[in-house]
Structure formats: structure tokens, C-alpha cells
């Protein structure tokens, strides 16, 4: 069982109370996207890998690739948040209000179904929902969800 820092759990529960999305899924996303806090773009406070849109504060993630025989640097813009709390709140708002997550919003009282509905939308990875559910089950993250008495398998 992995370690979830108290500050991360509190931020996920607060976001769940505000936006009515399962804290268990948010915590699993934190673990998967940031490798338990070890792999965030430096200086970003962005554990969810959320990309920056035009006009949003950002940090750059860079990689070097050989394209057409030339080594080039490629940058991607990732959201920069003031704090982890700010990141969790924005992540919750995104999943709770963006029309792209309508399928997830419809099953917000079912943590496993909510995790599955993020596959192919939040992430390209076709195993995204399965990975989230494996983390949720392996760490008993459902204990942080508001009781609804409904969880699919």
C-alpha cells in the first residue's frame, strides 16, 4: 500500500465536497499522474498533468527529439498553480463542469464508473480507468468518498 500524504487527502476531500466528484478517483489520479508526487513539472504545483490553455499560467516541459535527422527541443505548456489546494480545486471544477466529462458527471456517485468514464477523455491511455481502479482498490481509497452506497465493479 502506498503513502498518501495528509495534505493531499485533505485537498482531495475538500475538492470532492465543493465539486461533488469522488475523492477516491482524485487521489488515484494524483498517484498515477504524478507518480505519488515525484513526477510533477518543476515549479508547477500540477500533479494532474493538466495542460495549459491560452492565457493560463504555465511552466514548460521539454524533451529533445531527432526529427528528420536533426535534434530539436520540443516544449509543452503545463498549468502552473499557486498551490496544491489550488490544483485540486481546479481539477475538480474541470471534471465537474466541462462538457467533455458529461459521461463521468452522470455517474459521479459511482467511483468506479466515474474512473472508467475518464478513459479516452482526460487521458489517451485505453487502460486509464483500469489503472485508477487498481490504485483505488489497492489503497482502499473509497473510504474518502461521501457515502452513497453505490459502487460498480
Amino acid at each position: 500500500m502506498a503513502t498518501f500524504p495528509p495534505g493531499v487527502i485533505q485537498a482531495a476531500v475538500r475538492s470532492a465536497q465543493t465539486w461533488h466528484i469522488p475523492a477516491s478517483v482524485t487521489l488515484a489520479q494524483w498517484a498515477l499522474e504524478s507518480d505519488y508526487g515525484k513526477a510533477m513539472p518543476p515549479g508547477s504545483n500540477n500533479p494532474f498533468g493538466i495542460k495549459a490553455k491560452a492565457g493560463e499560467a504555465y511552466v514548460l516541459a521539454s524533451t529533445r527529439e531527432v526529427v528528420n535527422g536533426k535534434s530539436i527541443e520540443v516544449n509543452a505548456k503545463f498549468r502552473k498553480f499557486f498551490s496544491l489546494d489550488n490544483a485540486f480545486d481546479d481539477h475538480g471544477r474541470l471534471l465537474a463542469t466541462c462538457p467533455a466529462y458529461l459521461a463521468a458527471q452522470r455517474v459521479r456517485n459511482d467511483a468506479n464508473a466515474f474512473a472508467d468514464a475518464l478513459t479516452g477523455v482526460y487521458a489517451t491511455d485505453p487502460h486509464y480507468g483500469w489503472k485508477l481502479k487498481t490504485i483505488m482498490q489497492g489503497n482502499n481509497l473509497y473510504q474518502y468518498d461521501a457515502p452513497t452506497g453505490k459502487t460498480s465493479t
Binding site: 498515477l32 493538466i50 527529439e65 520540443v74 509543452a76 491511455d125 485505453p126 487502460h127 489503472k131 490504485i135
Partner: protein, 181 residues
């Protein structure tokens, strides 16, 4: 007399060339139906998609495959073919479940997009694997790297009936799918 002969010869040449042109055009229409797609897939101008978050790249034929835009988390993106027959997905992930390369291979080669796979070709070793096979009437191909506790995966699916048209494309994309770390 010479002028009349010259006119006759000219008309005969024009008719002859026209007939040959029509015949050749007809031949091309018949014989190029499968070949056009094949040559398009392998001779198109290739562009390169580079993923900065997970440090990988893959080339794709820009006239045949259309990128659908990166996901919110920047892990990769989907490509859809112009004819709607082929789907390409490329993505990275942190290996927080601590799976071995063999475990990922076993999982992915057993079940592809929720459908069972009959694997016909496989290669596993070092820090990567590839496999191809049949899944519900589709040809499926996957190449995965496991490096520095991160996975980078290329999935390609196309109907068996499009076989030769896409086989060359798979070879090319598998070759140019690279991990930068």
C-alpha cells in the same frame, strides 16, 4: 495527294493515341484500386508527433492519418485515418502499478480494446515488446517501451480486409516510434 495523306496519317495518330489513352486509363482504374491506398500509406509525407511529457515521438503520414489533439493530461493522442478504417493511439504513463514488461505484454496481448487477441507475431526483450495479431476481424499491432518507470505505447488497429494497404504503414510507424529517455 501528299497533303491528303498527311491529314489521314494525323487523324490516325490522334485516334490511336486516344484509344491507347482510354485503354491505359481503364487499366489503371482496374489495377490501382488496392494499390492506390498502399502507395498512399507508404509514400505520403510523414510528420512527427513529439510528446514532451513522456519523451517519445512517432511519425505519421499526414495525408492519411489525422491527429485528434492531445488529451488534457498530455499523455498522447489518437489518430484516425481519412477512410475511417484505421485507428492509431500513442500514449505514455507512469508505471505506478510497478508492472514488469512481461506483465504488460501478457495483459495487452490477451485483451485489446476489450476484445481477445489471437497473437501471430511477438518480440519481447530488453526494454520493449511488440506483438501483432487478429482481434475480432481487425489486425492489431502494439509496441511498448518500459523505461525509467514509464511506459510509452503505440497501438494500431485496422480491418483485415485493408491488409496490404496498412501493413507497410505499421512497419514504418513501428520503426519511427522512439523513446527519448
Amino acid at each position: 495527294m501528299n497533303r491528303r495523306w498527311a491529314w489521314g496519317a494525323a487523324i490516325a495518330v490522334v485516334f490511336g493515341l486516344s484509344a491507347a489513352g482510354i485503354w491505359l486509363a481503364g487499366m489503371r482504374r482496374v489495377s490501382d484500386v488496392p494499390e492506390t491506398r498502399h502507395s498512399q500509406a507508404v509514400t505520403d509525407t510523414f510528420e512527427t508527433y513529439v510528446n514532451a511529457r513522456f519523451a517519445y515521438s512517432v511519425c505519421y503520414p499526414r495525408e492519411l492519418l489525422f491527429p485528434q489533439g492531445e488529451a488534457v493530461n498530455g499523455d498522447g493522442q489518437r489518430f484516425v485515418s481519412k477512410d475511417g478504417l484505421a485507428r492509431v493511439v500513442v500514449f505514455g504513463s507512469n508505471n505506478v502499478l510497478e508492472q514488469t514488461l512481461q506483465q504488460i505484454f501478457d495483459q495487452d496481448s490477451k485483451d485489446f480494446d476489450g476484445r481477445p487477441v489471437s497473437v501471430s507475431d511477438r518480440s519481447i526483450g530488453g526494454d520493449s515488446f511488440t506483438f501483432s495479431g487478429d482481434s475480432g476481424g481487425d489486425i492489431v499491432f502494439e509496441k511498448t517501451y518500459l523505461r525509467n518507470d514509464r511506459t510509452k505505447t503505440l497501438d494500431i488497429v485496422y480491418p483485415k480486409t485493408a491488409g496490404a494497404a496498412y501493413a507497410a504503414l505499421v512497419r514504418r510507424m513501428a520503426e519511427c516510434f522512439r523513446s527519448a529517455d
